[in-house]
Symmetry: C2
Subunit: 181 residues, 2 copies
Amino acid sequence: MPLTMKEKILIAAEKRVRSAGFTETSFRDLANDVGIKSASVHYHFPTKPDLGEALVTRYAEQFKAELDKIGLDDLHAALDGFISLYSNAFVLNESICLCAVMGAEAIGLPENVNQRTKAFFELNKAWLEALLVKHGVGDGGDAASLIVAALEGGMIVASASNDRSLFEQVAKAAIRGIGSI
Amino acid sequence: MPLTMKEKILIAAEKRVRSAGFTETSFRDLANDVGIKSASVHYHFPTKPDLGEALVTRYAEQFKAELDKIGLDDLHAALDGFISLYSNAFVLNESICLCAVMGAEAIGLPENVNQRTKAFFELNKAWLEALLVKHGVGDGGDAASLIVAALEGGMIVASASNDRSLFEQVAKAAIRGIGSI
DNA sequence: GTCTATAATTTGATAGAC
DNA sequence: GTCTATCAAATTATAGAC
């Protein structure tokens, strides 16, 4: 099945937002990316908040699909799989997690977008917490919250520093700290 | 000594950037904030990268001044003092850390701005690492990197989720994890 | 240092033809 | 669904008077 124009726009938008930011991404840029005019982009996404909401929703759905592929029986393997999702999302000078961008811009963004960003973080935290509880590690959700925050923050620090190893360092330290939290 | 116009502009700019983002902050907005015209803002900061660089430099200097006030003899008190700096920087629906914003926008920002953002993160990491080493906790800088990343990421997650307790949770978990890293 | 005036570009969004 | 055409507003930045 070939891509619909709506999906093509979302793919182009995700790429731009994850590198330049949401506000910096314009309908005209997206129109050029997919080979139509900006008025036609508005046909698919009437307003920018509409686009933002669809963008984060799709991102969270895809992320959830990847999470569902990770086996939960081996704690270490599962944690590695989880971190790999973040690691793959972070390409130096090219892209960070969509929700790190949306989260940083959150104060100025419409509610419907922020709700979806919040849902993404909750999804991640809930998955991690379930994994830890299953293996009798960590009592509440503190460790899960810490890991999610550290991975998102690690991307931002590493991206600004133009040094990918900073992210790797944080990711490894986050895993090593589990059990004592 | 009364504030210079240059400082007034930086104060207004910091407020706007920390809530709405750097790209969203315009010279006209700042001009209105301080009661002059946008052309006059350009007199003080010829280009936007000039403004961004001055902004992050000033932020890091002020942060360093606060760090220098924290006593290092009591590990727990020092960690609490460190986290308080972040805690105070984070006001729900109003502001997050300037460098969390700049870091999230980093890919699209000019080099001179990113260098200053990187310096801010290095300053934080170095201070924390020195504290931990002094008290014989943590070998390398892994724990320090983790804490900085977790605090920055915690702000972003909490801001997008409109839930300050998420930040508090991450901050506490980050401290509790020290020693095992 | 601040002003007026303006240039050149970009933005989100709409109306209406096809 | 996509187009042309257009709008009203906002953006960074500069020239030159005061």
